[in-house]
């Protein structure tokens, strides 16, 4: 295994679910140690939390600006920084670290505007940095299997794509929101133009793009704001046209009672259909024309080698969310190691979602908002 990589993190302190998952996933891989951390919480709390994560006091920072400056000037620079802050800090934080020549892994949605995203692409290129956008659900073994089956032509030319992602957790939260007590996700200034469409919609957009390579040509999107406390979209319904002539429907909701986190994607080709359900991530359903549907099981011998490479425990022993994140970090660590050895790195070859996919997501949700504001009319998507 050799020397472990060193990474830093911004955000994700006590109580932040997603930061803890990122760190757990990285520990699962056992390829990198957390050595620096920044958060804006009070100093005493911050120091306690940082020490708990095993970070030495001199590398626990009160802001990402401070951290970028200090870490950028070290000889033993971070191998990467992990950005798990609220969405509005993604772009400024990422930019500062890229300018220090530090690779970045960033939560989705990448940022608020297409311009920001393009600027990040330029900055990363200028500084020779790698950049992963941690679209979790591409990390599942069966997402990799789906991608490979599509690439192998198993389902033929794609005709329709049905993506849905209902949740219901917002219902309780909605009722606690008042003017004085708004979480950042309910404040457009803090969360950007889109809420569910940015938070969940981009997962659909990315998964489909990641697995199929299809580009969206245009879309018509309706955003709903249900509930009295609601100020931003919590239900999203969109018709999609892809550049290859395929069409589709994306739906996501945060007020769909009875659904936990039910990302489900069905991709229909002229030879077969693939169905992936995130909550049953150890399986993939494949239906070939004229044959009985079959259920692929993660870890089975018939998987493609490209997917089998990510299997950690035998078939029937469930893997979950943490492994999905860990697979993305496994890919990212592989690219970082190759870059350190001076190898030419083509990020698209490594399996993790790229900065270009981050841009694509930002364009997607902005076009959805544009469409909805224009009465759910069709808008062209031109990334």
């Amino acid at each position: 295994m050799g020397e472990k990589l060193k990474y830093g993190m911004i955000g994700g302190g006590p109580g932040a679910f997603i930061g803890a998952v990122h760190r757990a996933a990285i520990r699962l891989n056992d390829e990198a140690d957390l050595v620096a951390w920044a958060d804006v919480i009070p100093e005493a709390e911050r120091l306690a939390a940082g020490r708990d994560m095993g970070v030495s006091d001199d590398r626990i920072y009160g802001s990402f600006e401070e951290m970028a400056a200090a870490e950028g000037s070290r000889a033993d620079k971070l191998d990467w920084v992990d950005i798990v802050t609220p969405n509005r800090f993604h772009a400024p934080a990422a930019k500062l670290f890229l300018e220090q020549g530090i690779n970045v892994a960033c939560e989705k949605p990448l940022c608020f505007t297409v311009d920001e995203a393009k600027d990040l692409i330029d900055t990363a290129k200028a500084h020779g940095c790698l950049f992963a956008v941690t679209y979790t659900y591409t990390g599942h073994v069966m997402a990799r299997e789906a991608r490979q089956l599509v690439r192998n032509g198993v389902i033929g030319d794609i005709r329709m794509v049905m993506g849905e992602y209902p949740q219901d957790w917002l219902l309780d939260t909605l009722e606690t929101i008042t003017e004085d007590n708004k979480p950042w996700r309910a404040d457009p200034k803090l969360s950007g133009r889109g809420a569910a469409v940015a938070d969940l919609g981009t997962h659909i957009e990315n998964w489909v793009n990641y697995v199929t390579g299809l580009k969206i040509d245009s879309l018509a999107c309706n955003l709903d704001v249900f509930g009295e406390g609601g100020v931003l979209d919590n239900n999203v319904e969109a018709l999609i046209r892809f550049e290859n002539g395929a069409t589709g429907i994306y739906w996501t909701s945060q007020v769909a009672i009875g659904f936990d986190n039910a990302l489900k994607i069905r991709i229909f080709g002229d030879k077969g259909t693939i169905e992936f359900v995130q909550e049953e991530n150890n399986y993939l359903k494949l239906s070939l024309r004229g044959e009985p549907p079959r259920v692929y099981s993660r870890g089975a011998g018939y998987l493609t080698p490209e997917a089998a490479a990510y299997v950690r425990v035998p078939t029937g022993h469930p893997e979950g969310l943490t492994e999905a994140f860990a697979n993305i970090y496994k890919d990212f660590a592989a690219a970082i190691k190759d870059k350190k050895t001076g190898k030419q790195v083509n990020e698209a070859d490594y399996g993790y979602p790229t900065l270009e996919m981050g841009l694509s997501g930002v364009e997607f949700f902005n076009k959805c908002v544009d469409s909805s504001e224009a009465g759910a009319t069709w808008v062209k998507v031109d990334y």
Copy 2:
């Protein structure tokens, strides 16, 4: 049980699947006998088939016009006529029988145009006739349960409706279609402006309307024609706005590999969610806010009395398509019997889908075609 009713049928001769199902459903109820039949097949074949169905030779006809005239002039008029012809004959045949004062049960879609549908409504009213449109899937016990749960306020105010109805049977058929060998469903002159949208889309539209009472305010619909032999829509994707402010998505397809006849409707309220899957028609999923989803089983003691009235065999002993049809005929026979005793009949109280629902379906698919022809833009639906 008393005297059995007498009914006639138009179409549905040898090889026609749906006619046989209607007759079987009516036999299941054991409330009516087939006594007259018309079809356009050659006489020898017709006579053989009619005798096989138990119809006496003098009431086997070569056309519906001939049958309407002959049957209309009998003293012992038919209690109803059953229309299971290709779609384009629905309206003219129904009209002729209504004019003879004969009640009508007719397959969906009711007819081609809104004007035809309105004319049928007027004609039925003028002649005091009852009229059922046999939207099969409203006949399932669990459709009745869903309707009653909504009426009882169990899921609260409806916010979203997701309806889908994928099939894949057309794939094989598509490849056998040539200019000289077109089934009526592939010929716009014979099948009307819409194919999948009329055949399947109206099932979604009706089921939702039947169960929730919601009216569509406007829609944006994309129709696709996939495959070389395709001339009419075989994939339908629509965004829906309802008059009460709810929104939704309807999708149906005849080229969705791996799906047999997968009508699935999810209705989301602010208190709960109902999910009905036609292929698992003995069950209904109900999710109440903050509680674990529960699966209702047809025949169980906790069903509403309104649904329980249709249970034929105990829970766990599957009912299917035939029972769904039979339930609609059970409702229709009840209305006919009441009418015969001189009772005032309000058709909406009997449970079977009404002529107004037939009109609603015709408007729906025509508006879908209008929208699609205008680039999947929004069109107002004003029935």
Copy 3:
């Protein structure tokens, strides 16, 4: 179709669920009319019920003895008699009709003792009568598919058989039973030595035997009587050894909360596994070694011709219990018609469960009771 057959029925009057299902199934086929009926209910009620079923007054009888005598002496003898009485009348009634040369269809379990069953076999042979035992679940299309897949060697040599059949309906009934108010199923004198084991256990035994042809060599069976009102077994657990060296487990229960009528059979060979779930009778799961499990759908093009012959409605349009019964009657009618034309009839070729299968069930449940009474020790089964 030609002339319809004529059949009679014993038992199954008002309120008797199973008699109504038999008649409905026969109507579904439209191959036979009910022309004679006997029941022991009061005369006025009997006459009303019989007329309702379309039976003429002179062929409505107050006992099966009376009916056997009267019908046996007619020139236009019944094509068959249908026995749907409480279990203890199966044998005496069947015997009387066989002696009149009338074919018999009888509910399971066939009778109480092995001697009775053997006597019926002898009597049927002596009088040249056909005899079907209506083990419902062999009538499902996917039961026929399972049988054919086994016959075709698809799953190889059978190693294990897991059969289970839990229900929970008895729980409510149990609590209403008192010494003075016992249903016949709770009275050993009326229902025989076994309750759940005879009523449900024989369904497992028969289905496995029907589909695989395997014979039981020996078994060890534990019978439980749960609940205060319980006097007869309502939970059955048995280890099974088959003559070919395979082993298995049969479990059935009437007090398994949460289960409606959940017959489920899994047959494991050295090449593959078949799984049939009665409540999902339109599907059959097939797992071949080293391949992803696949789900066969009733009506699909890949079914064996032997099973496809029983498909009534297209794939995705559910069939249920009534169709299962109807398929058994379809088989039985075919044999009767062949017999009437003088053709040599080998009953095993027609698909319906035979009198020998009835005997096998009687031996099975008696041996289960023997085993349980001896402390759930192993007993040899030697039919």
Copy 4:
């Protein structure tokens, strides 16, 4: 979080799946570091592997005997040792470490004989050591939920228990076994008297005991050896009688085609039924009498506090095998920390499976073998 614990491991080197999972689970918790390791593989390989795990050279050992001696004499003794060797080393290794006063976590089955197990209990007590047996499937959140629901009386008095655990992985392995090339699991000298019954059967026995507290009174067990290469049981079928009068069936198999790792337990009480399926470990099905079955989702607000305490990621974000192991280690670490602070530790209060449960498993599989050797007759279980 404070100071991390220090643990050692025996076995689980390169290629050993289960050792890697244990280490990953412990990393997930981030409460302990691996500091010592022993394995019998060649020195160069061992050193490389040990360094890879972050162990310093002086604490990488060539045998557990060497390690016990060296580690036992250190001032900074291990907080616990983790035993993941082949089964036959469990008892001797555990004993040596206990004698050094080092707490032990050991894979199941605990050991070969009841005497060995009792000796371990005595030794642990004599040296004041804690001991966890890592029965994985008790670690799932929904196993904890099941246990608490039973304890809360939700399903009432238990009547029946159905446990099954089919796999099919052995099929391929069986065919590669020759006299000269036997894995340890196929050699009775190395693996003990039972194979599937010890490896998988004890998981059923333990899960049921862990969740319900029920003790087995007696059992009748049939062991099969299918396949030419088979020398030890690979299919296990047992009837069970519990001390409280409940009965049940346990089945496990390694040659059940189509099943990956399908542990499934159903517990039937007089008020309700619980169903747990390991491959769907984020859910638990609860059926209460007279009510529709409901599906509990890990992480939902309605979970009992006792189970909710183990939730790591929100509902709908799957947890899996690694989290199950991690939960057991979380419990064990809590007990170790309490012991270190001088607190009186009652192991049964901490949630991890105890040494007594290990003994119970050893008695279980030995009695199963006894029964099978005596013709699957009933044997008393008297632990």
